[in-house]
Symmetry: C2
Subunit: 315 residues, 2 copies
Amino acid sequence: MASICPCCHKGSFYVKNPHLDLMDEDILYHLDLGTKTHNLPAMFGDIKFVCVGGSPNRMKAFAQFMHKELGLEGDGKDIKDICAGTDRYSMYKVGPVLSISHGMGVPSISIMLHELIKLLHHAKCCDVTIIRIGTSGGLGIEPGSVVITDIAVDSFFKPQFEQVILDNVVVRSTELDRDLAEELLEYSRECKDFPTLLGHTMCTYDFYEGQGRLDGALCSFSHEKKLEYLKRAYNAGVRNIEMESTVFAAMCRLCGLKAAVVCVTLLNRLEGDQIRAPHEVLVEYQQRPQKLISVFIKKRLGLWNAQKLIDNVVV
Amino acid sequence: MASICPCCHKGSFYVKNPHLDLMDEDILYHLDLGTKTHNLPAMFGDIKFVCVGGSPNRMKAFAQFMHKELGLEGDGKDIKDICAGTDRYSMYKVGPVLSISHGMGVPSISIMLHELIKLLHHAKCCDVTIIRIGTSGGLGIEPGSVVITDIAVDSFFKPQFEQVILDNVVVRSTELDRDLAEELLEYSRECKDFPTLLGHTMCTYDFYEGQGRLDGALCSFSHEKKLEYLKRAYNAGVRNIEMESTVFAAMCRLCGLKAAVVCVTLLNRLEGDQIRAPHEVLVEYQQRPQKLISVFIKKRLGLWNAQKLIDNVVV
């Protein structure tokens, strides 16, 4: 960990764990990768952008979309799942872009992040930006809107994540990179076919009772109590609700990874609980954060063509 | 919900939500099923056993194993994923047995359980037993041992689950069905090729810091502190550690579903953190809870043949 990066001349390779240097081998169990079985620097050393999302199919589609957007050879249809040896997560690499699924909820994304951050460390990656591109429930905004998270908050609207370490509760900040969020908001002007906004994102441990849904197997509150809670969330600045952003923000911040959360909203929770939009509408909604992130990556790589209207992109 | 089951003459169909009766349609979004798009009573009305586990591949293998064990027609190789329209969960039906994946962690299994319990309600199922067959880290027991959970405890060794409802914290009991656990322990005598025991199962929100691992991207404690915590857990009766049992126990209990947790241990956490056993050993370990549950289901269905030694079963 004390080694200096030959590229950016910085000494930090993300992990914050003195025990790792003492290990002869590191098996990244849930990714089916390891330091003795794989040449991680050769496989991943050039990664500059990591995009994560819940669904394996969506992260494969994003990798195929980026393959096309970056003008890489071939049609990208036969892109290989690097984690094919396990069904816990899926991972695809397209040039300097890594696309990984993380399942649903804080524990699921936290396992993936621990192993991903160790992977970036072992591969000696530097200057990496990480973005969660997800789906969410919107609060008081048009369905299909894309929310760039300025800060992730918990169920009590606090910008913090409570991590249990052994049996102690440690409170961690969930602040995200402000400059990165502003940069993404600026680039959203290139995406004229959908609205994008900056707002707080609330992260819950459960989709039903914790998000005030009336349609779970268990529900002990009234329609009025639900609306009162959601309106309080709106007044606290919350514009969307999902299930991973607090631990994502907290871990990336601690490990020095520049991080952003960009989620599309599938419905307006002030108007209902069930996701009723037709399949093809939901598919198009889910492509929206991908379009914005492709603009961002191409701008960062100097590949952006001002004449090209994102409106015309066919994913 | 007030309707009486023609089979068992009981009135309870599992859900505890007065709002559900008022809904014209219920879309089980993460299962890609719904009350208007599917005939749920015809598809699922005969279900008596629901088995759940983290990995989709493992739950498919279990369904294929049960297909063979129940002596159903065909070889079961072409068994179809009922949730093929989504990649969030996988679901297979084999006679009266439903096999479903739930991903990793409390939030992921909780979404699945809400929609599964509503599915059992809509399908008018009755007299259903639900069993989680999973993997775990062992505490002070031989790797490969199978632990039947007597009670699920949290990181503080308390037999409770804290559910956030709107912004209130509600404490729920994590007691499991004692008779079912005893019945499973009795049937484990038929499985002579691996040890099975009854013990407390600790459920954490994270695989690394929360379980005292020294090999995550973040670690702020010493080897000694880790061992001190794990030994305290052992002394409190904990024999294995996983990430879903408390919410599983709490939700099933509230909904009147008889539930058990049966997990194999992949390593002894007092001896290390990394899962280093060879792939084929881990595959065999994961078949152990499946073998025990197949004995249980066959005994319940009156299909158990005393002459047949489970030792000879080839999964």
